[in-house]
């Protein structure tokens, strides 16, 4: 029966696979263009972020070049150069945002999974294989993020301005931070975080698979200890990761609860993804042992962590807004003035929608309702990462163009491919977990 289930799963994976392949091809074609653009001369780069806009810009530069006699033109050129740098960053940032977004989903799921073990949760073991499958993206996703960071470190792109020695030479604030913010240490740290997470994930998964054939609880106990260890490691490295990978994009600005803020975002995205994939698999008849009570619990987490995210967002915002210190408030000024729709829209999608839609206890059991809310939450948290990264790298010359959409499609397709591929690798119901019976009979 299990073999049959696996075969069937593989059958329907074949469909998304081909669709995603097409998307991947489209995206990678575009991707190729981007690379070509970045490497070749500046004018070419101007043309890269999409057809309509590039023409417009070409005209503008042209006009500037024609009228380029006096000081005004020189000033214009400076401005264009600035915009140019921002636009050069744009496809890279789009890539980075999407790569990080899907990576953070699988990291959030891993944290959730570890919590289930550490808390010896009785309701969730039926969902363990779904969670494990989502964390399978940690390895490829982590490598992609690491490669992107390495490319920044080797000055292929300019996402992190503190990596530019010229900038640092004229900037005392960054100079004071070079003991921490320097390229080799940055990459070593990234390698430690990623290596640690991937190692923990690997061991947890291995023990979980062994547990299927085990006769006693040794592997469960091992996983319990591993999960507890992981959570300690995770909460430290996750904070540092958020400083390194996101907060250092604005090297002058800092916030002490930034790690928690990013954590809330990745946690709620992860839980939402578990819910969406579980419901999808259930609708295809693969997870008949998952009942509405499990979905209800996941939806409660989506609801709760969405509020938690808003709480942290507001805590960070209000203190800075209230004190109004220029060096701090500049962070929000750029976001409020250059990204007003996304910045405030994010609050609607990440707070108001989940709160109103998931408040009713009965709605949390309506599967399509959870899916719709889940899609809104995921979109909202993509915007969250977008607003975290983009203002620092692209500034006011942002727009959601081909590179943004194709980056999401590329990584989204790759993510789905890896996750569903991992789902076929093992039976969808864990065996040997001491709580599996309780979980199957779970009823709220």
């Amino acid at each position: 029966m299990i073999v049959g289930a696996i075969g069937l799963i593989y059958g329907f994976i074949a469909a998304p696979e081909t669709v995603e392949d097409v998307k991947e091809m489209m995206a990678s074609e575009h991707h190729g263009e981007e690379h070509a653009g970045v490497e070749s001369s500046e004018i070419n780069v101007e043309q890269l972020p999409g057809e309509g806009i590039s023409e417009e810009h070409a005209e503008e530069t042209h006009a500037a070049a024609e009228g380029g006699h006096g000081e005004e033109a020189a000033h214009d050129n400076e401005h264009y150069e600035h915009v140019l740098h921002q636009l050069q960053n744009k496809p890279w940032s789009a890539l980075y945002v999407a790569a990080f977004f899907f990576f953070m989903i699988s990291l959030g799921v891993l944290a959730f999974y570890a919590i289930q073990y550490a808390a010896q949760a009785g309701w969730s073991p039926v969902l363990f294989r779904v969670m494990e499958a989502i964390t399978a993206y940690l390895l490829p996703g982590g490598i992609i993020v690491f490669v992107l960071l390495m490319l920044s470190g080797f000055h292929v792109n300019h996402l992190f301005i503190w990596m530019d020695p010229e900038v640092v030479a004229h900037d005392e604030i960054i100079q004071a931070k070079t003991a921490y913010l320097n390229v080799p240490f940055f990459l070593i740290r990234a390698a430690i975080y990623l290596g640690g997470w991937i190692l923990f994930r690997h061991l947890l998964r291995k023990n979980s698979l062994k547990m299927d054939d085990a006769t006693d609880n040794t592997y469960f106990k091992k996983n319990f200890k591993l999960a507890a260890g992981f959570l300690v490691f995770f909460i430290v490295t996750e904070s540092m990761m958020s400083w390194d990978w996101i907060m250092s994009l604005d090297p002058h600005w800092f916030s002490t609860l930034f790690g928690w803020f990013v954590f809330a975002s990745l946690f709620v995205s992860g839980i939402t993804t578990i819910a969406i994939i579980s419901i999808y698999l259930k609708s295809r008849g693969y997870l008949e042992f998952v009942n509405d009570s499990h979905i209800h619990d996941l939806a409660k987490f989506m609801f709760g962590i969405s509020i938690f995210w808003t709480y942290l967002w507001f805590s960070q915002f209000m203190l800075i807004w209230y004190s109004n210190i220029p060096e701090e408030v500049v962070y929000f000024i750029t976001r409020m003035e250059d990204y007003p729709v996304l910045f405030w829209g994010m609050l609607v999608t990440n707070f108001i929608f989940p709160v109103l839609l998931l408040m009713n206890s009965d709605y949390k059991r309506v599967n399509w309702f959870v899916i719709m809310t889940g899609i809104i939450i995921l979109a909202g948290h993509y915007l969250n990462v977008f607003v975290l990264v983009m203002p620092a790298t692209v500034g006011e010359s942002w727009f959601i163009g081909v590179s943004e959409i194709s980056a999401v499609l590329l990584f989204g397709g790759f993510f789905l491919f890896v996750v569903f591929n991992a789902l076929t690798k093992a039976p969808l119901l864990v065996k040997g977990n001491p709580f599996i019976k309780e979980s199957k009979h779970y009823h709220y």
Binding site: F314, F317, W321, Y322, S323, N324, S361
Partner: protein, 173 residues
């Protein structure tokens, strides 16, 4: 013809839940059940209408939010305009973030307290009220079920209740 009621006592909540289902299947009418603690799923087993307390709670929360907005607007903007971190006075909206914690707290405060008070009123509980428990042991470790016996043969009903696991049965007239 005063109403005849049987008081059946159970010693275990699982047993009670099972008995409730059997008794309702046999079409006897359960008046009330006294428990020392809330029994999960008992309301559904007894066929009680779902609680509307959650709706009242939501409405109370909205009332709290409205009160907080009106209050902060009056205190901090209209009556005695305050300088909040150098933000423009006389504008509620531009000073709104500073009021969010109060809005949140009052929403929770109103929802929680008014919901509890509603619950007390709905359950007809107030200070110095005399306990209605027919048997003091229901505050300790036994469950007592009132079964309507007016239109039934008392002996048959008693036998049936013993079969469902009742440990003692009393007839109250």
């Amino acid at each position: 013809m005063a109403s005849k009621v049987l008081h059946a006592i159970y010693r275990d909540d699982d047993l009670l839940l099972q008995a409730v289902k059997q008794i309702r299947e046999a079409r006897y009418h359960i008046g009330e059940i006294y428990c020392p603690f809330p029994v999960h799923g008992l309301d559904k087993a007894m066929g009680l209408a779902p609680t509307r307390l959650a709706i009242t709670s939501f409405l109370y929360g909205l009332v709290g939010l409205a009160v907080a907005i009106a209050m902060m607007n009056f205190i901090m903007i209209e009556d005695w305009p305050q300088d909040i971190g150098g933000k423009p006075s006389f504008s509620f909206f531009q000073n709104m973030p500073a009021f969010v914690p109060i809005m949140f707290e009052l929403t929770v405060f109103f929802a929680a307290h008014l919901m509890v008070i509603t619950f007390y009123m709905r359950s007809k509980l107030w200070p110095f009220k005399k306990a209605e428990n027919p048997d003091v042991r229901t505050t300790d470790d036994v469950f007592l079920m009132e079964v309507d016996a007016a239109n039934h043969n008392v002996e048959d009903l008693t036998d049936f209740l013993y079969k469902t696991g009742a440990s003692e049965i009393k007839l109250i007239e």
